[in-house]
Each structure stands twice: as C-alpha cells, then as structure tokens.
C-alpha cells in the first residue's frame, strides 16, 4: 500500500490534483485551501489503507483487494467506491499532452452480451479434497507410510496399476510376468495396494489344482517380500499362511504324479525361510505356531506323504534348530511308517513308494544339515579361531550367493558345514567329519546312521567334494589336513568311515539329498543309547531297503533318470537353490538304489580334493570362499 513505499514516505496527492478534482465538481479552490485539503486527503487515505489491511489479514490473504478497502471505508462511514471489483489488474494510462493519468474503462456492449450464445458456465463448485502425508518415525514424509491406506481410497492410477499387474502375473505371457514381478519388487508407491495383493495371494486355496498359478502367486509373494519400500505389517501373517498352504496341503495338483508339486513345495519352503530371515521382527510371534503346525502334520500318519514332505522341507527351511527340535525327536516314530512304505514293493504301491523316497530324501537332507551344523557349532569353542572362522565367513558368503532374489541371512554356521549336491563319495571325507564332532555328535550321528546307513556318510563326503572346484588348493591342503586328523579322530569313527565310504561310491544320487543338521547335544547323548539298540536292526533294514529299491527302481527310473543326467553337470551353475536340490532329490529316491547310476557322478575326479577342501574353509578363508560362492555352495544355504 501507499504507506509501505520507501521508508516513511507516502504517496501524496498534490495540490493541483485537488484543484482539478474541485474544478470537475464545479468548485473554485484557493491555493491554501487546496494545500490543506490535499494534506488531509493524504492522511485519510493512509488511514483507510491501514484499516483495510486489517480486513486483508483476517481474510487470510496477502493481497489487498478493493473489497478490503471498501470495507474500511464503510466502517469509517465513507461511501464505498464502486466499479473496481474485478480481479484483473487495471490499466493505468497517461495522456502525454495533458499530463493526465487515468484508469482505462472498457466499453461493454450490453446488447451483444445479452444476446450472446456462449453463456459462461460459471466456476467450478467449491470442494474439499484430502491428501495424506504419511510420516515415518523421523518425520520424513514417506513415499508410503506406516499407516497403510487408513484414510485414502485408491486413486484411479493405482487401480489401473493393480489390474495390470495382476493380469500380467496371472496371465500367459512369461515375459510380461517377469516384468510385472520385477516392478512389484521395486515399486515404491504401492503401499496402498498391499492389502489387495495380499488378498489376491490368499487365493492360493482356490487354485490348488493349478501348479502354474500357485507358482506365480508364490513369486508374487517373493516380490512383495523383497520390495524394500513396503512395510508388510500384519499382512505378513496372511502371506505366511498362503505360503504354508503351498508347503503343507495335499494340493489337488499332486494327485497327478506328473505334476511337479515337489518343486512348488520346495520353493514355498525357501520363501518361508526367506520371510523369516528378512522379516524376522514381524513374524517372530509366528515361529512357534508354525513349528507346531508342522509337527502336527508330520505326526499325522493319515496325511499323504506329500504333506509330510512339505513338513520336512518346512522344518528345514526354518533352520537346523527347528529340525533338531521337531524332526529329530520325531524321527524314530516316523521312520517306522516310512520304512513300511519303502519296503512295500507291490506294484500298486509304486507311486506311494516313490513319494516315500522323496520324503526319505528330504529327511536325509534336513538331518545331514543338522549334523553339519552341530558339528560346526560344537567344535568351534574347542578349536578356537581356526574352526570358527570358516563358519562365520562362509556363512555370509553362502547366503549372498544363494538364489538370486532370496538372500536370507545365514545361520552363522550353516553354510560351512553343508555340502549338498555332492554325489561324490570320498571315503576319506567321512572320517574327516567324524573327527570334527565332539562327544554328543557321535551319538546323534549313530542314531541317524541307524536310519540312513551309509547314505548319511556320503553326505558329508560329498560336501567336501565341492572343494574340488578349487583347483589349486587340493594337494597342498590335503597334507595339512591329514595331520590333525590323526590326532583327533577317535578309533571308532575312523574305523566306521571306511565302511561308509565304500557305500558311498555306490550311491551317487545322494547329491540331491541335502545335508543334515546336527542334532542337539542332549539329544545325542540320549540318542546314543537308543541308537545302539536300534542300530543293528535298522542298519540291516536300511540296507535291505536300499537293495530292494535298486531292483525296483529300474522300472521307475525311466523318466527321472532322463531328467537327471543334465542336472548333474549343472549343479555348479545352479543359482537357484531349490530347483537344484529338487532335481537331486528326485533322483535320490531311486538312485541310491541303482547301480546304474554309478557312472553318473561326474565329479568323482574331485574326490581327493573333497577331502582337502574342508581345510581351506576352516583355516583359510579367502580363496575357497569365493569359489564356493559361485558354485554349488549357493545351493545349500537357503535351507
């Protein structure tokens, strides 16, 4: 306003202006009068401007309008000025000759206006619209918030996105699906859609006949879980329950033996472990609950074998501790049932028996990892740094490498001990492991051995076989290795080992069976007693079954074999844990019993190295580690 211009200088109405105005009103003013009037007019103007500012402030504007000024005039009992209400700026013009300034008035043709056909519509309706800024704990406006969709409804864009994504994922085009999954995994703005996606995923129950769809939904879970911008909150429960469904339920799809529902279960289990590792904080409350339900399934003999299989891989997915806690103590009871299935050679039982072998393989994998982990965890304190190191170091490596998307943080000891895909035999390897295990382990081992017989031992040896991939180290290490062996190994174990190794050679398929986890010390102690009693009989049973299978296996092998060969060469390249294992396991069922396969183990060459391999892992970290990461090692980790 006028008052604001310069410091304390005001717009002044000159004497002449006053005179002119008076003239136009038909009055003649003297100079003195005009001067006084001019001054007074200035003052009144300033006063009016000041009080009009008050109206502006209360209207919460920064712009003084004619309206404000008029209000000020009105409240000081002065007539308001009319005709200046328009929002547009007014044109202020000068006429050169007369030094006149004036506001231009526009001429308006009323007739035209009245007869105009384009009647203005008037301005849009005043409305209120809500926008929400979700703040995270630090007060940053999150791209998405911790309060999912509390207030807002879906915008059209989001809705469209949702439709496109679901259509792409559940549709036919694999490429589209990949893109959609990728976006789901990295999009930062889909928080509001989370509940909808979760709902879609919960639809697993309605498509249990369609492996393909189940698989896609699981991939969707994976993408959501991996999206770093999403806070899953309580929705994680729903996701977990969908995943559990895929793991445990006797899916309609599994009725047809041609359907590879095993892969699905493995993938689901992998996903489960991934969720637990990456969203541990959200699901910690679920851990027990899930253990219980797994145990329930496992102990329910009425359930089909594929459910049992799911339970086992599920346990395996939850970590070796879970295996130790649930599977191991339950094994003796379960074994009887399984054995019965496996021992039934009738043709009608063929399919069931094949399933039984699957379960058998899965248990074997789980148990071996258990043993391995046990073995690793126990020696650690005893052997000090050398032994502990490998665990720690290998661990992180392993998980990083593991399947592309899924990178569960490692159980610290898990990786080092696990040798998976080893179909290799290596007699020496067996001993090696033995020497590692301190007191409680042997007990557990002996009990497990009573069930699995030589297959168990093979597992260990195989893992060393991986070492074989490291070309340079082998011989060198082997020597260092041997010395400690001599000291530590107790006579029994050493003696046992050779036996095992002998068997090992025969059973190449064990590669598929994952490694075992070592059982807890306490169990091992008690187990030893039991195992002694059992061992003899069981071993015989095991061997018999094995031999039996071999014979029977022939008939069934046909298709599995065909599939099998290729994976063999492949194992190192598998980045995908489950897939890899799956293959192996499938073979397991049959292979162990088939001599046919003997040639298959392609990496037998590595045998010597296998042995040595362990050393590098333990003692020297760097080189072997890298190798491992690239190779099969990745396969073991996730489970």
């Amino acid at each position: 306003m006028a008052a604001d211009r310069e410091e304390r200088r005001f717009a002044e109405v000159s004497r002449d202006s006053v005179k002119l105005m008076a003239e136009s009103a038909g009055l003649e003013l003297g100079d003195e009068v005009a001067a006084l009037l001019a001054e007074d007019v200035c003052y009144r103007l300033r006063e009016a401007a000041q009080s009009s500012a008050q109206f502006m402030r209360h209207a919460k504007r920064k712009k003084l309008t004619v309206d404000d000024f008029n209000k000020a005039l009105r409240w000081s009992n002065v007539e308001a000025i009319c005709g200046y209400g328009a929002q547009d700026a007014m044109l202020f013009r000068s006429v050169k000759e007369g030094e006149l300034f004036f506001v231009e008035d526009r001429d308006i043709n009323l007739i035209e206006l009245a007869l105009a056909t384009n009647i203005p519509k008037g301005c849009a309706e005043t409305m209120v619209r809500a926008n929400v800024a979700y703040l995270d704990g630090k007060g940053n406006v999150g791209p998405q918030g911790t309060v999912p969709a509390a207030v807002q409804s879906l915008s059209d864009d989001l809705l469209k996105y949702y439709q496109q994504i679901t259509r792409a994922i559940l549709g036919e085009d694999p490429h589209l699906m990949k893109v959609a999954l990728q976006d789901l995994q990295s999009n930062s703005k889909i928080a509001a859609l989370l509940p909808y996606f979760v709902y879609v995923i919960s639809g697993v129950k309605s498509v249990s006949h369609d492996l393909e769809q189940l698989n896609r939904l699981l991939h969707m879970v994976k993408s959501l879980v991996q999206n770093p911008y999403l806070y899953l909150g309580s929705y994680v429960r729903s996701l977990v329950s969908s995943v559990m469904y895929c793991i445990l339920e006797p899916l309609a799809a599994s009725i047809n033996p041609l359907n590879d529902h095993w892969t699905l279960r493995d993938y689901a289990a992998l996903l489960l472990s991934h969720i637990f590792w990456t969203h541990g904080d959200l699901v910690s409350g679920l851990y027990r609950q899930i253990l219980l339900s797994l145990q329930k399934v496992l102990s329910d003999p009425v359930r089909p074998l594929c459910s049992h299989y799911g339970a086992v891989v599920g346990l395996h997915a939850l970590g070796w501790k879970a295996v130790e806690r649930v599977l191991f103590p339950h094994l003796p009871a379960y074994w009887a049932n399984l054995q019965a299935v496996l021992d039934d050679y009738s043709v009608s039982n063929a399919q069931v028996k094949a399933d039984g072998h699957k379960v058998y393989g899965a248990i074997l994998v789980a148990v071996e990892r258990l043993l391995k982990m046990k073995a690793l965890s126990l020696p650690q304190p005893a052997e000090g740094c050398s032994s502990s190191q490998p665990g720690c170091l290998a661990g992180p490596m392993g998980y990083r490498v593991s399947s592309p998307g899924l990178s569960p943080p490692p159980e610290p000891l898990a990786e080092a001990g696990l040798g998976i895909a080893s179909h290799l035999q290596a007699g020496g390897a067996g001993c090696q492991w033995e020497e590692w295990s301190p007191v409680p382990l042997p007990a557990m081992y002996s009990e497990l051995y009573s069930f699995f017989g030589d297959s168990l031992a093979v597992r260990f040896s195989t893992e060393q076989s991986f070492g074989g991939f490291s070309p340079c180290t082998p011989s060198h290490f082997r020597e260092t290795r041997k010395e400690p062996l001599g000291h530590v190994s107790n006579p029994d174990t050493t003696r046992k080992m050779p036996q095992l190794t002998a068997n090992l050679n025969i059973s190449p398929r064990q590669d598929g069976s994952p490694r075992t986890d070592p059982p807890p010390p306490s169990l091992a102690a008690t187990g030893s007693v039991r195992s002694l009693a059992r061992s003899s009989m069981q071993r015989s049973r095991a061997s018999s079954s094995r031999s039996g299978q071999r014979s029977i296996g022939l008939s069934r092998d046909v298709f599995p074999k065909a599939r099998f060969t290729s994976p063999h060469s492949g194992p190192p390249t598998f980045s995908f844990v489950i897939g890899g294992r799956q293959m192996g396991r499938r073979c397991q069922g049959r292979r162990p019993f088939q001599t046919i396969f003997v040639p298959t183990p392609p990496p037998p060459v590595v045998l010597p190295r296998v042995y040595t391999h362990k050393l590098p892992v333990i003692g020297r970290v760097c080189k072997p580690l890298r190798r491992w990461t690239r190779s099969h090692y990745s396969l073991h980790l996730p489970l």
Partner: protein, 753 residues
C-alpha cells in the same frame, strides 16, 4: 505495587479516574479498575468523573461513588476508615476484594442484589449477568462511531501544557546521551524509555501545532527505536496535524493507557537523579503522566530479557496484573461406564497387539479420577448437564482414545490435508468437529459451507408436516425424522451479509456458530441447516468466535475491542471482557471452560475469568497482531502465534513466557496441541505446517524457581531443536489444524493459485 513516589500516588489515582474513557474501559490494565469495569462497563463508567455515559438508574451510581471513595481509602492504606465507611454505607464485605472471590461476576453496582457468595447455579449466574449486560450493551456503541470525540479532547488536553518546542530535541538527546553513558547493566533497562518518550514528545509537538518541529524530531530520532515498533511508527508518522489526532485509534491508545515499563530499582534511582540534576522537567512530567514504571528489586534485566517481553502497544504487563490465582486444572470428567467387552477389542486381541494399550487405558482412567489441586470447583461455572447422546459420544471418545497413537519426537503424526479447491470466493475460516466427521468453511462471500468427510451424508430433518406422519414410538425414530431426499455431502448456509471470519462447531455437533464482518454471530442448526439465532452486540466486525468445550457458552471478539461471553439461549452477552487496546483477533476457551483467552492487535494476550469477568493474565512479547491461540490439553500452557511468525509459549499458572518457537516466515493462523500434548502443530500463511516438540519445550523449564518469583524469563534459543518437521503445502496457506481422536493431524486451507 511499586509506587513511584509517595506524592505521585495520589495524582496518579486521580488521573486514573479522570481519564477513564467511558468507551471500552481502556484503563482496565490496572487490576483494580479492571474489576470495576470489566464486569459491567456500563455501570462502571457511570461512576467516573466524566460521567457522560448514563446507564443504570440512580442508586447504583451513588453506590459507585461510594465504592470509588472506598477504593481510594483502601489504596491509601486507611483500612479503618474504609471499614467504617463500608459499614455505614451498607456495602457488602467483599465489594472491593480484589481477588474477586465474590464469584458473582456482577458489577459492583449490583453487588447488593447478589450478595450471597455461594450457590452459583446457572440461573443465578445468568440472571445477574443479563441485568448488568443490558446496561453494558450501550458502552461499545459509544466507542463505536464518532461520538467519542468530546472525550478525546478531554484526553488530549493532557498535552496542552507545553514547554519550549525547540528544546524537545535537546531534552531527548540529552537523555539519550545520559543513557548511553550509563553502565552497561542499566543501559538496556533505561533504553526502554526511548520509545514511549519519543512517542509522547512527538504527540505533544503535534498537538501544539509545531508541525515542522515535530517532523524534524521524528526524522531525527525515529531511527533509534526498536524495529518491532515500526508498525506503530508508521502510523505515527502519518499523523502530523492536531485535527488528525481526533479519531485516531492508535493515538487514543497511547493517551488513555499508561505505557508500562519494568525497571530495577537501581536503574530507576539513576534515572531520577539524572533528571532532577538537570532540571529536566519536561521529561519528568511525561514519565509521571504517561508512563507507569514498575520497579522491582534485584538485578537489572538484560537486553534479550527485555526484548522478549516488550513489543506490545502499551509496554509490558504490570506484575500485579498476573498475580491472580488461575485454576488451570481440568475438570473431573463424569464417570461413564465403558463397555469393555466389545468386539473391537477382541478383534484386536487376535491381532496380538493390544498389550500396550491396557496400561494406557488405566492411566487415563486414573487421571480423570484424581482431583487436580489446580482445578476450579466443578460447579464454579454452571455447565450444561450431559444428555444421553453426549454420554454416547463420550464413550465413543474413550474408545477412540484407547486406539490413540502415542506421539513423540520419534513418532510424528501423519498429516491429512483438506484442500479447498475452487474457493474463488475466499476461504476465511475453517473448523472441524471433534470427531473429525464434519468440516466447515466460512467464506468471504458470506456463506458457510459444511461438508461431511465421512461416507455419511448430511441430511435435513423432515418438514413439520412430514414429521407428523412419523410413528414416534418406534425405536429408530431418530433415523426416521431425517429426510433421505436431502442427503448430500455439502450444505450451504446463507444468512450473513459479510465475510465469515470465525466458525465453530458445538461439541455435540448439533450447532455451528459463525461470526461475520456484518457484526453478528449466527447460530445454525446442523439438523435443519437453518439459522436459529443471530446474536447482535458487537456492531463491528466479529473476528472470531468459539464454543466452550462443554457447549452452551461461547465467546466472541471483534473490532470493537471487547470480547463477549454468550450463552446460546440468551440473545445478550453474559459477560463483556474489556481491556484490550485494539481489535480482538482471536478467542479461545480454556479446556476447563472457566477462562477465556483473547489475542489482540495490540500484541497482547489476555486471560479472562468467565466467572467474574476479571482479566487475570496479560501476556506481552509478541511483536505483531496475534492470530492464533491454543491451550495445551492439560490446561497448564498456552501457545500463541502472531503475524511476526513466532509461536510463544506461556505458563498460565505462573504467568510467564516459557518458550519461543521461531521458524515460520509469515503469519501463524493456526495452532494445535496433539491430544496428549506432546506435539504442537502450527500452520501458517507461509504454506507450511510445522511440528514442535512440546514435551521438551515445557520440560526444560519446570524447575526454575527464581524465574517464577521474579517474572524475569531467560529463554534459550532452541527453536531448531524443538522443530521436529516442516511440511510444505502446494501454495495453500494453512488456516486450520486439528488432531483427530487418534492423533492423526488434519490440516485445512484453500488452494491459492
């Protein structure tokens, strides 16, 4: 009371009475006079010497005179004489009790009629008030138009004594030199004299027609004044003629109220000695007549301490003005049984998260049960009884509050912004119901628009004819009376004839108040969406209005410089709170409904006792008109925001400034505490919402006893630590803030392209 000198007291008292303008009771900043006037200005002014405002019948006026004498006697410490006079005149014992424990709220002129202290019930309160207010209503009218001219001349005549105009310059620069030469510790305090002296000397020069001298004087010394007086100086500079002085409101403020300075005894002695030595009578006269020097013992204050408190139109508040006891505690909530076993909670239990909430609920329960020692009596102000629907709402409230998010510096609320689009007609006020189901906007085109922000649409009650057809016995009669055909998201209320500057929902969501430039306040029904009452009385633009948290009462304040307390069923105000020197720009009820806070263009905030109409707190420190006020939920603190972009925090109990929040770059139009008081949100013209750590701001200060005793605050500059977040809007000034019952922050404003 720190009287300046024995001799001066009398003169001053006389002056107080004489110069009491009948208009708005300007002199009310003085606590004693304030009691006389504020409760019933009409009656109060009737007794003053000027006496041109004849309100009530004869007897009260006589009584007024007696009271004035009585007051004088008391002031002069002639207790016995006062007692004798009181007895002989038959005045009630507490007629002059400055604490106002009389609790009647009636003007003293009516005190005889309502002597009984207790038994404050609604009817008695109201009846007393309505009698007095009939007289009171006239007062503001006077203040309004140009009628007050004769009084002004009385006021101005004080300037007529004149010294030699040419010497003014010398006087002032002499004082300036003295103050600059004085010890550092005194300089800051004595510098306070500059501004009021400058103003009064300038006005004297103008009044005595020494225009050119005045101009030169202004040119020479105006640059020395504190920058926060710039606004006033600008007004002053435009004033160069004696004729202009009439009717200039700012000028009236200077003349009729004494500028208050707080100076330590040492500094004051220094000043007095200097002036006496120099025989500088001109300045001494001004000090005696126009300034009020509040002397305290102890350390002189520092520059920053002074700056924090100064800035208002009439200097700082006198210390005694803030001495009255304030019952800032909360009222006990009525106990309502809460059905605990509802489905909601069970559902939550399954989710597995409810454990944390249990203890919280307990603490809440206990909070409402224990009696707060600082709380007023439950019946101090008669409150409306709870209806069944209110109880239901309370239950809803409690349920919601169990789900409330606990906020803190590491857990900020999410913000939902309601943008008014296409508001070309100018959005001027916004309010949201407590349960956040309705939002209303007041517009410059005189309309009030109410939106439903839930899926539930707004429906009118059926017409009378249709209502007759309804089965009144049916259970869902409340549903049946609604006319489904009228359901819509938006209802527009027409009735005002000027911009709507303030709106407020009643707590029960049945009514809406709106105050407008047309000088009226209107009460609207949200059942029928029609206007029920138009409250007239302000006669000038009404800038703000607000419902009491318990409903029924409401307060309004406007351009006529008074705030009024109304009850919805009375067309005249129950109380008139007069004392501000300029427009009242915002009004807020204390959470316990016993007090009202008003912010004004005179850059002060006042707290008024609803019971007796007294001004119990005056807060100075803002450097611009105050546009936002907010009480903390526990009733202990007040936050205020002004055009200077600062938020100041006040401790009501101690009457102290306890914090300053700097950050906004433009007028603050909205302030709100979160439901538990941990976060203070401020919304401003600068298109931002800022969140402040209120817990921390209040925690840091609790312990300082010295400050509490002397009133000298020392603020650390920690605004940046307290600022938790700044959130920009898209060129949308933030006019309103509201925390939902679960502590989600709602903000509203009109998009301003």
């Amino acid at each position: 009371m720190a009287a300046v000198q024995g001799g001066m007291v009398d003169a001053k008292d006389e002056l107080d009475i004489k110069s009491e303008p009948p208009s708005d009771g300007f002199g009310n900043s003085n606590a004693n006079d304030g009691r006389l006037l504020s409760s019933s200005p009409g009656a109060g002014t009737g007794g003053t010497a000027t006496g041109n405002n004849k309100p009530a019948p004869g007897p009260p006026e006589e009584q007024q005179t007696l009271l004035a004498v009585l007051q004088f006697l008391k002031k002069s410490k002639l207790a016995e004489s006062a007692e004798i006079l009181r007895r002989e005149a038959g005045l009630p014992e507490d007629a002059l009790d400055p604490k106002g424990t009389d609790a009647s709220g009636s003007g003293p002129g009516l005190a005889a009629g309502s002597g009984q202290v207790d038994g404050v019930d609604a009817s008695s309160l109201l009846s007393r008030v309505t009698v007095s207010s009939s007289a009171a209503a006239q007062a503001p009218k006077k203040a309004a138009a140009g009628e007050d001219q004769p009084d002004v001349s009385v006021v101005l005549s004080a300037y007529s004594q004149q010294g030699d105009p040419s010497l003014y310059d010398a006087y002032y620069s002499g004082l300036k030199r003295f103050i600059e030469s004085v010890l550092d510790c005194h300089r800051a305090e004595l510098s306070q004299l500059f501004y009021p002296l400058f103003v009064h000397m300038y006005l004297e020069l103008v009044y005595n027609n020494n225009e050119s001298v005045a101009k030169a004087f202004f040119e020479k010394f105006s640059g020395d004044q504190e920058c926060y007086y710039e606004q006033d100086l600008r007004i002053l500079s435009s004033l160069t003629k004696k004729e202009h002085m009439k009717g200039n409101e700012t000028l009236l403020d200077f003349r009729t109220s004494k500028f208050v300075l707080r100076i330590s005894r040492d500094s004051y002695q220094l000043l007095k000695r200097h002036l006496q030595e120099r025989q500088n009578n001109q300045i001494w006269n001004i000090i005696q007549e126009h300034l009020y020097i509040d002397i305290f013992d102890g350390m002189p204050r520092s520059k920053s301490q002074i700056d924090a408190m100064s800035g208002s139109l009439a200097g700082e508040a006198r210390r005694e003005a803030n001495k009255a006891k304030v019952f800032y505690g909360l009222l006990k909530e009525p106990e309502i049984e809460l059905p605990l076993d509802d489905e909601d909670e069970e559902a939550e239990n399954e989710e597995g998260k409810p454990k944390k909430k249990k203890p919280k609920k307990d603490s809440m329960g206990s909070k409402s049960k224990k009696q707060d020692p600082n709380a007023p009596l439950q019946t101090r102000i008669p409150l409306p009884e709870l209806k069944d629907s209110d109880k239901l709402d309370k239950i809803m409230y409690m349920k919601e509050s169990t789900k409330r998010i606990r906020l803190g510096s590491d857990n900020l609320p999410s913000i939902c912004f309601y943008t008014f689009l296409n508001a070309y007609q100018g959005l001027t006020a916004v309010d949201v119901t407590d349960d956040s189901s309705l939002i209303a906007g007041g517009f410059a085109d005189s309309t009030v628009r109410v939106w439903s922000v839930t899926p539930k649409k707004l429906r009118k009650v059926k017409s009378a004819a249709d209502l007759n057809l309804i089965d009144k016995e049916s259970d869902d009669v409340l549903e049946r009376i609604m006319d489904e055909k009228t359901a819509s998201e938006l209802k527009i209320l027409y009735g005002h004839s000027g911009p709507v500057y303030g709106i407020s929902f009643s707590p029960d969501r049945n009514y809406l108040l709106s105050s407008s430039e047309d000088g009226t306040i209107r009460l609207w029904s949200l059942q029928t969406f029609t206007c029920l009452v138009g409250y007239k009385g302000h006669n000038y633009p009404v800038w703000d209005t607000q419902f009491s948290p318990y409903g029924y009462y409401f307060v309004s304040g406007g351009h006529d410089r008074v705030a009024r307390l109304w009850a919805t069923d009375h067309y005249q105000p129950l109380r008139i709170f007069a004392g501000h020197l300029a427009d009242i720009t915002c009004t807020r009820f204390h959470p316990n409904s016993n007090y009202v806070a008003t912010g004004s263009s005179d850059r002060t905030i006042r707290l008024w006792d609803v019971l007796n109409g007294n001004c119990v707190r005056i807060f100075t420190g803002h450097k611009g008109p105050i546009h936002a006020l907010a009480f903390s939920p526990n009733g202990k603190f007040l936050a205020s925001g002004a055009t200077d972009g600062r938020v100041l925090l006040w401790d009501i109990g101690h009457g102290l400034m306890v914090g300053e929040l700097k950050g906004h770059t433009d007028t603050i139009y909205s302030l709100r505490f979160s439901r538990d008081g941990e976060i203070l949100a401020s919304g401003s013209m600068d298109n931002t919402v800022r969140l402040w750590d209120a817990m921390k701001a209040f925690d840091d200060l609790e312990t300082d006893d010295f400050t509490a005793a002397t009133g000298h605050i020392h603020l650390q500059d920690n605004s940046q630590e307290l600022l938790l977040g700044t959130y920009m809007t898209k060129s949308t000034p933030v006019l309103h803030l509201h925390f939902t019952r679960r502590n989600l922050l709602l903000a509203a404003g009109a998009y301003n392209p």
